[in-house]
Amino acid sequence: MAADRGFSGKVKVASTIVDYLSSGLYESPAACMKELVNNSYDADASRVDIHVKPDADRIIVSDDGTGMTQREFQDHFDRVSESHKRDSGDLTKEKKRPKVGRIGIGFIAANELCEIMEIVSTKRGSTDLLRVVVDFKKMRDPVKQRRDKDGAVTKGDYRGTVEQAPRNDHYTRIYLNEVRANVRDVMVGADPTANTAGGESLYGRGPENISKTLANSERRTWSDLNLYSQTMLEVGLNVPVRYAPDWIPSPLRKRLKAMEAEVADLDFVLNWDGTDVRKPVVLGQDPNKLPHVLRCFNFQGEHVGARGYFFAQHGVLLPQELNGLLIRIRNAAVGDFDSSFLGFRASEYQLIKRWVSGEVWASDELEEALNIDRRTLRTTNRAFVEFQTLIHEELRKFLRDARKKLYEETSAEKKSVRARDQEERMEQIAARHRLPAPVPRPEGKPKQGDAAEQKSTRAMSRKYTASQLYEITLQVAEEELPRELFRKFAKALAKRITR
């Protein structure tokens, strides 16, 4: 066995700007975690295991990707902002996946999570086992103290060794040690000793169970879950994992089969403390919110193309995190569902917009508009402008269709049901009085009459149903009229209602 070869060096970034950016770029631990998971995806991993529990004192991200060599590590870390991630092409080497990462600051996301990062990696075909410890503590020092004579800013020291590994092994394991206290609280669900504190936990549940939990009609928001679970869902939403079983009712699912298969073909599994994490998109499971409308779209503009779907149900879409549009570029999401639908302002659709969820896979051109945080898009970018316009066109068409199907047709159906109900009740009332049942005039256009009469009728209709009015009338008549006269009156009333 060859002797271990030691090496050491400085991790640097090209400028203070990049240092600042990468130090406060991510809004939550989930945002950092998704960077690490996407790194594994870009390394052609089929499976990533994340170990957080029991107390997130140390977090492990372990993948079966291609791994990296000492040279690759040093190329990457010696000048983080000058990433060579796409030098070797836009697609990954083995699985030909479009690479998600662009400027290579994904690893640096770890500095927001922990003080010490240990990377253990080996590449297939190589007997080198790379072991590097990156110390981020230094970056907490003032920038002045960290700037070297060339103006570059030291982000953290690293120490590495190259040991021996079996030739066929290939993996990268990232040990996030000394996890920062605030991160630990979030990652573990706020209170490690009180297991249910901070909301329901999805820990230890399988995909079917999680789908059921998310589909619970009483779940208004993911915030009902603890932070551990929310973090897991947020990462699952962003990274290229498969859809959950029965994520959408099967008649609709058939229409999305190709899209779903394409995602599954990416062959990427995220395992979070033993849970097979799927996209937490669960739609149309509430039987009280029928019917559903689905529209698949596909457009190609001058600067950008996209395909995706819009889904709508009858009623506000819950959990509210799924209301809006989720944009995916290269299979990774851009932020969360955008409930403004890229600033869609058509006033006539403001209400129904809340009933809609959609996902769109944009072509690579939209990546030009992607900000460094991977959460927002530059609104002045020409690809974005076109994308926004085309999405709004699709959305308008969809909403018009959805409103007709969900609101107008449902409304007509409801009226018809109500009329049938009234008819039945009148029959019951008539039967009680041993009278022939009146046949109510179908609801629709009002009978002609003067305006005051119509107004009064409408006011009364709002207060009483037709059957109630019929019953009241008969009761009063029975009380006030002799029996024979009452029978005549009732007969005339039934005839009138029938007419």
Binding site: K53, P54, I60, S62, Y203, G204, R205, G206, G274
Partner: protein, 327 residues
């Protein structure tokens, strides 16, 4: 997986080992039946190996619950800890039992052995004070001479663990200890082992009697008469080494821990293996019960503990059957 891990995995598949795992699970069960661990305190700490077969036994007995994904149930997360220094094995273990905390270091490093002054931090200390500590060591019995004093690193480790458990508030605990029946000693150390045993035979008649039955008259005589040299150890059969360790280890542990306040009861003193294709092993299950005589009447505490040292000795045959040995 490293060579060590492979060897260990092979050992783990043996029927004898399965019987041992049953006994360990029973020991945990007994602790639970006696009141278990305090809320939030760890119940079991083990050197579990890549497959975590001892954990599976705890699951089978319903001591540890798993979720539908196989992860440790949230309610049981703080009860169970594993030590596995092979990082590949540690990750396998975590993949098998989601949520399980695996300390990927050696028990020696975690305990900061051999230092008497350095101690693990608060968090690790809490884990090390588990109600049941299972040191299924893939190691033989090492004996050293430090400044001419006989020294057993494994006993020193147990002594350090018992000191941790003795910290206020003390925690009664059970030690499961397994060693290869093989001796690794510095020159002169075996002669000192023999002398140590000889002195104790002369002082403790009952211990001597039980040891004689266990060791056989020839070996007992050699030890008692002080005719053993380092070379003698090399001539001992694996069975004799097993018996020697069965007599020596509980005695030494009792001797080194009773003054801390521990009454040590040897619940199991078992040998197995030593056939053509299986390595000879020795396992002990020792209960440490807090006893205030540690400071006021340590000798009576010691004598009481010693009475159990070679009682109930057993053998596990190649089919996994537990057979009582006369002692």
């Amino acid at each position: 997986m490293s060579d060590t891990a492979v060897t260990r995995a092979m050992l783990e598949e043996r029927p004898e080992k399965d019987t041992m795992r049953e006994l360990w699970a029973s020991a945990v069960m007994d602790v639970l039946e006696a009141g278990g661990a305090e809320e939030g305190d760890p119940l079991y700490l083990g050197l579990c190996g890549a497959k975590g077969l001892d954990i599976l036994k705890l699951v089978e007995r319903g001591i540890i619950r798993r979720t539908e994904t196989g992860a440790i149930a949230e309610e049981d997360l703080g009860k169970l800890y594993a030590i596995e220094s092979d990082r590949n094995a540690a990750l396998s273990l975590q993949e098998e039992f989601g949520g399980l905390e695996v300390l990927d270091n050696t028990i020696e490093n975690i305990l900061q052995m051999p230092s008497d002054l350095a101690w693990p931090g608060k968090r690790l200390k809490k884990i090390l004070r588990s109600r049941v500590v299972n040191l299924d060591l893939n190691a033989c019995l090492a004996a050293e001479l430090k400044q001419q004093q006989l020294h057993f690193p494994v006993v020193k480790m147990v002594e350090k663990l018992s000191r941790l458990h003795a910290e206020s508030p003390h925690v009664d605990w059970t030690l499961c200890l397994t060693l290869h029946a093989d001796l690794k000693f510095q020159p002169g150390a075996f002669r000192r082992i023999a002398a140590y045993l000889a002195e104790n035979f002369s002082r403790e008649a009952k211990y001597a009697e039980a040891s004689c039955t266990l060791l056989g008259e020839d070996l007992y005589k050699m030890l008692s008469e002080g005719t053993c040299e380092d070379g003698t150890a090399k001539e001992l059969s694996p069975e004799k080494i097993q018996c020697l360790m069965m007599a020596l280890i509980p005695k030494r542990i009792i001797s080194d821990t009773h003054r801390q306040g521990w009454k040590v009861s040897t619940r199991r003193n078992i040998r197995y293996g030593a056939t053509a294709d299986t390595a000879p092993m020795v396992s002990w299950i020792l209960d440490f019960e807090w006893d205030t005589r540690g400071s006021s009447a340590p000798d009576s505490l010691y004598s009481e503990s010693l009475k159990t040292a070679i009682s109930g000795i057993e053998e596990i045959d190649s089919t996994g059957q537990l057979v009582a040995l006369a002692a």
